[in-house]
């Protein structure tokens, strides 16, 4: 039987989604459900003086209003394990006091029998404030910038090697420019949404989240209840892109209101509210200095990023992280600074750090190439990093040069003219641009449970979730191979916090993290089945050794004589078993230093860990020595662009992304992920940006009419290719993550193509018509 991994099978949940049968967080039919509507602050800083709800409470159907005056007290989970959930704004647990730190902050929840009644009542609530002067605008407050102690997830934020200043003095060629990127919002189709239901002291929550396990941990800690009393479901998620990675106030407000009014409560943020109280990609100001010799060899790289965060938590957009490893340079200085503003807190957004960071670095590289009168592709090859120079480690697998080669061929790079503004098609100027894509490959400890049923079907349970990326489908393929069954016989169940703990859907880590334990658990079941047959005198395989027996398409048989064997069902039926189970936990983590943290005694994970000690697949996986390797995915992005120079109108003619992401698990979902990332990049390059009012600091462009994302007419022919070379060090499956790399590099490739077309170097995203005619 051919392996299922690698086959471009259709999404297993595709039909459910297109027919509307898939249940998203806000869509669960709950008896006696009532509706919450959030009232948010209309000042940027200050205190809530009074909330007059007298008129609102007279609206028929209104049950009550929850404010900081009457809401329950929450506990901040100090020093908790971040894998148990991160609240996005640690100093702003909702409705705990009257302070306002930003416009659009939740200040009250009105609850009514219907959504319409709650909406009507919300509009009648009159709030008065003590308004205070707010801190508005990163540029105006640049003198308050400070260096954060650490970056995303406790990683490094200040990175140095060699002596940049000295190297710059002797550099034959130098470029120094500042690149700026605006605030971007994720704008997942599904807004943040929560349903909460209490049954006695047991809480059930349906949440739009990238981490059911994180929400479970966080709710237990903040509400002060035992984790086993919290049940979280996220069966289908309408996109997250990072915005649902941390937990936002809505996830707490729904159970708080449900408790207060003793009814199950649904709370869905409006599109406008998502723009204030549910994260964003922070604005960046990035100064990049490159020093090179006459041949283009880099001697020094300096990348200084200033971004903004809120007054209620710290989030660092680590734009310089990729710079520390992408090119070979003996001297490097990567730094990050933060300015606090009265805005909601930023959070990861598809390739946090790398997306804006590769924009700035890869445009800077293009500028250096132009100064050297060198093909920008050649400059990348000259400075190719053969090893991870900061950590001084080998890459587990790197085929970047092949990405460049194939991308250049596919776009027709040879047609590019070195001199900008010299190539024309009709009224349009034509330009070609390229850039390198990169994103770290992450993997974290995960657990899964496999069950084989007597009817020959199988099931996987894993406490991760599919945020729309195709996890259900790809893990069905992994499990099918582990069970040696066709994918249609395997049901993968995710998005349930009572399942064995799986990875958070963030950092492009799900496939690499939950794939191995799912595979190992399925293999574990088959191993148990084989051993049952061996010890069963009625089995044709009785008395053989396990290594002499293979599994294939629902049947076990002798390796040397495939005719001698029997089906899984035959073994189980004879044994009187209705099911056969195995659990597996893999403790491999690419981020955690030192030995893995053992699962808490008595937890489901501890049982899986115990069982994994005799699971060959887990043992082999964990035996792999990873400490000498750096894990990164790479890619090359190529763009052909047409520009109408008089009107500043830009048409992307073609984009090509060639990706080196290890094993391609499913060509369809993988292509879809990369294509989606590249389209995100088109938005980032050409139109997306969130504007804040310069006078009061509140979001002005807060719906999809004002915040433009690309439409079909903006999207050109997109060609996605994969190297498809397994990374045997990251896992036995060989796949690195794929969710984020597609957006890296593409923005720079577009900007570089526009420069090649027009000779105009726009260093401030997005590149809109006004900037090209200026």
């Amino acid at each position: 039987m051919n392996p299922s991994i690698g086959k471009p099978i259709d999404r297993v949940d595709g039909r459910l989604k297109v027919t509307g049968a898939a249940t998203y967080a806000a869509e669960f039919p709950i008896k006696d459900l009532v509706y919450g509507v959030s009232i948010t602050s209309t000042i940027t800083k200050g205190r809530v003086k009074n909330i007059d709800s007298r008129q609102a409470l007279k609206v028929p159907g209104v049950i009550g209003i929850m404010t900081s005056e009457n809401s329950m007290q929450l506990h901040f989970p100090a020093g908790s394990d971040p894998s148990n959930g991160k609240f996005a704004e640690k100093d702003l647990l909702p409705l705990q006091n009257d302070r306002v730190f930003y416009g659009g902050q939740h200040i009250a929840i009105i609850v009514a029998e219907t959504f319409e009644q709650a909406e009507q009542a919300a509009a009648l609530v009159k709030v008065t404030y003590d308004e205070q002067p707010a801190t508005i605008g990163i540029e105006k407050n640049i003198t308050t910038a400070y260096k954060p102690a650490s970056g995303l997830g406790g990683g490094e934020a200040q990175i140095k090697r060699g002596d940049v200043e000295t190297a710059m003095l002797s550099a034959a060629v130098k470029t120094e420019e500042t690149y700026t990127t605006p605030v971007y919002h994720h704008n997942a189709m599904e807004p943040h949404a929560t349903i909460a239901q209490w049954e006695g002291d047991k809480l059930t929550v349906y949440d739009a989240t990238q981490s059911v396990m994180g929400v479970k941990g966080l709710l237990a800690a903040t509400l002060g209840i035992p984790a086993e009393k919290v049940q979280v479901y996220a069966l289908y998620i309408g996109g997250g892109f990072g915005s649902k990675g941390f937990t936002w106030a809505n996830t707490l407000l729904a159970p708080m209101a449900a408790k207060q009014f003793n009814r199950p409560v649904k709370l869905v943020l409006s599109r406008q509210q998502v723009f204030s109280a549910a994260g964003r990609r922070t604005q960046t100001i990035q100064k990049i200095t490159l020093g090179a010799d006459q041949t283009g060899k880099l001697s020094a790289i300096k990348h200084a990023t200033t971004s903004e965060t809120s007054f209620v938590d710290e989030f660092v957009e680590t734009a310089g992280l990729a710079t520390s490893m992408l090119y070979s340079s003996p001297n490097l200085d990567v730094s990050h600074e933060l300015v606090r503003l009265n805005r909601g807190t930023p959070c990861p957004a598809r390739a946090p750090g790398e997306a804006p960071g590769t924009y700035a670095l890869e445009v800077a590289m293009d500028e250096l190439a132009h100064q050297l009168k060198m093909d920008p592709l050649q400059l990348r090859l000259i400075n190719h990093a053969d090893m991870e120079e900061q950590k001084k480690k080998q890459f587990s697998e790197k085929s970047l040069k092949e990405c460049y080669e194939r991308g250049a061929e596919a776009i027709g790079w040879k047609n590019r003219k070195a001199e900008p503004g010299t190539l024309k098609e009709g009224n349009y100027l034509v330009g070609y641009g390229m850039a390198t894509a990169t994103y770290p490959a992450n993997r974290s400890a995960s657990t899964a449970k496999a069950t084989l049923f007597a009817n020959g079907n199988a099931e996987i349970l894993c406490g991760t979730q599919d945020i729309g990326t195709g996890t259900y489908t790809v893990m069905t393929q992994v499990a099918a191979d582990g069970f040696s069954l066709s994918p249609d016989k395997v049901k993968v169940k995710l998005g349930n916090s009572s399942y064995p703990k799986g990875a958070q859907s963030g950092g492009s880590q799900v496939s690499a993290s939950v794939g191995p334990p799912i595979r190992a658990a399925a293999l574990g079941v088959i191993s148990k089945l084989i051993n049952l047959a061996i010890s069963d005198t009625a089995s044709p395989l009785h008395g053989y050794k396990e290594e002499d027996i293979a599994a294939d398409n629902g049947r076990i048989h002798l390796v040397k004589n495939p005719d001698k064997g029997e089906t899984y069902s035959q073994v189980m039926t004879r044994q009187g078993l209705d099911k056969l189970e195995a659990q597996a936990k893999t403790n491999v983590s690419t981020r955690q230093q030192g030995p893995p943290t053992p699962a808490p005694a008595g937890s489901p994970e501890a049982k899986a860990e115990e069982e994994s000690k005799t699971n060959k697949a887990v043992q082999e996986d964990e035996k792999t020595d990873r400490k000498d390797f750096a894990f990164h995915s790479f890619g090359a992005q190529f763009v052909k662009v047409l520009v109408d120079p008089d009107l500043g109108m830009i048409r992307i003619d073609k984009i090509v992304g060639v990706m080196d992401i290890g094993t391609v698990m499913n060509l369809k979902t993988a292509t879809n992920q990369i294509m989606g990332g590249m389209i995100f990049g088109i938005g980032m390059a050409l139109m997306e940006n969130t504007q804040y009012d310069p006078n009061n600091g509140r979001v002005v462009t807060r719906d999809l009419a004002q915040y433009l994302v690309p439409v079909h007419a903006d999207i050109p022919e997109i060609e996605v290719q994969f190297i498809n070379k397994p990374d045997t060090f990251i896992s036995p499956i060989g796949a690195r993550g794929i969710g984020e790399i597609g957006i890296t590099g593409i923005t720079a490739a577009i900007a570089n193509a526009i420069y090649n077309a027009t000779g105009k170097r726009v260093r401030d995203l997005p590149i809109t018509p006004d900037k090209l005619i200026a």
Partner: protein
């Protein structure tokens, strides 16, 4: 949204009678009205559904003009053979607006009545003289990249969003209205109002008046016409700048021109200053550029939208060049 009473009427007179109830609003396609109601910007007590009225005809008149029922869908108008042939500028303008789904719902009368997309108007957290008279204008000192540069006042710089209206301004359409006192017509140039001191007053309809038809006068040479729209994305976005151009050219000379601009005015902007330059002049680049300079001579840029002055000129020059060629 506030609760409201919905009534469905079968004829124009019933529709007009129904408006005697205070706080009444007509609804047709609802593509703008419903959004505004959800945001509590429009809070009608009674919504009068006029979709049952027999105003769906596109009639070619004996004089060569066309009479369009107020309920004709934007898409039906755009694809009507007579419009596409005799008034391509109108067809192109309609098809450059919104998305196919919206054009299938939106009516001609509703398009005339649609309100600005100025974010300060849409956002109740901010002041807006159009939404709450006398509260102030958030846009003038705020983020105003998409706001107007012509016809603005100290009270309001909101852009009129319509594409269709720009073509109709160029064509000199006539609005037919039925009211309590009978029927009347309003020339297009008098239908929309400049903001002045009263930005909340946007049109010349009185309470109880219903748009029944829009008449496009006969313009024999309007087959030579064009609508050009510049925007931040390729579809489904309002204009940064746009130009509707109709030219009567004979032997390289412009005998008569009709020019209107979009994306830049507080109302659909008939550029008569440009027409003065064009009429009688040779059809060439110098003429076109001079016309564009004249069209924008009164323009006033704000913090984020001064680029529109030059972009609007270039848009008009390109539209003129495409339509008129170069002699």
């Amino acid at each position: 949204m506030e609760p409201f009473k919905l009534i469905r009427v079968q004829d124009g007179q019933s529709a007009i009678n129904a408006t005697l109830t205070a706080g009444s609003k007509f609804i047709a396609g609802g593509t703008n009205m419903l959004d505004l109601m959800k945001l509590n910007i429009e809070t009608p007590k009674q919504v009068i559904d006029i979709n049952k009225l027999s105003l769906y005809q596109i009639e070619e008149l004996p004089n060569g003009g066309i009479k369009i029922g107020a309920l004709v869908k934007n898409s039906d108008l755009a694809y009507h053979p007579a419009i596409a042939k005799k008034y391509p500028v109108l067809s192109e303008a309609l098809l450059s607006g919104a998305s196919p789904q919206l054009r299938n719902m939106a009516s001609v009368g509703g398009n005339l009545m649609q309100r600005t997309r100025c974010p300060y108007f849409y956002n109740a957290d901010f002041v807006c003289n159009k939404r709450v008279p006398g509260s102030g204008c958030g846009a003038i000192a705020g983020y105003n990249r998409n706001n107007a540069i012509l016809g603005t006042s100290a009270q309001c710089i909101a852009t009129h969003p319509s594409d269709m209206c720009v073509a109709m301004a160029a064509l000199g359409a006539i609005i037919h209205v039925q009211g309590v006192k009978g029927v009347k017509t309003i020339p297009f140039s008098e239908f929309h109002l400049l903001p002045g001191q009263t930005p909340h007053l946007e049109h010349n309809l009185r309470q109880g008046e219903l748009i029944t038809h829009v008449e496009i006068p006969p313009i024999a040479y309007a087959a030579r016409s064009h609508y050009l729209k510049v925007r931040d994305r390729a579809s489904y976005e309002f204009a940064l700048t746009s130009a509707a151009v109709i030219l009567d050219i004979q032997n390289g000379r412009i005998l008569k021109s009709h020019i209107a601009l979009g994306g830049i005015g507080t109302k659909p902007w008939r550029a008569d200053l440009a027409e003065k330059v064009l009429n009688g002049a040779i059809a060439n680049q110098q003429t076109y550029r001079a016309a564009a300079e004249a069209a924008l001579s009164q323009a006033k840029g704000y913090k984020d939208n001064s680029f529109k002055i030059e972009l609007a000129k270039r848009t008009l020059v390109r539209a003129l060049t495409t339509t008129g060629g170069i002699s």
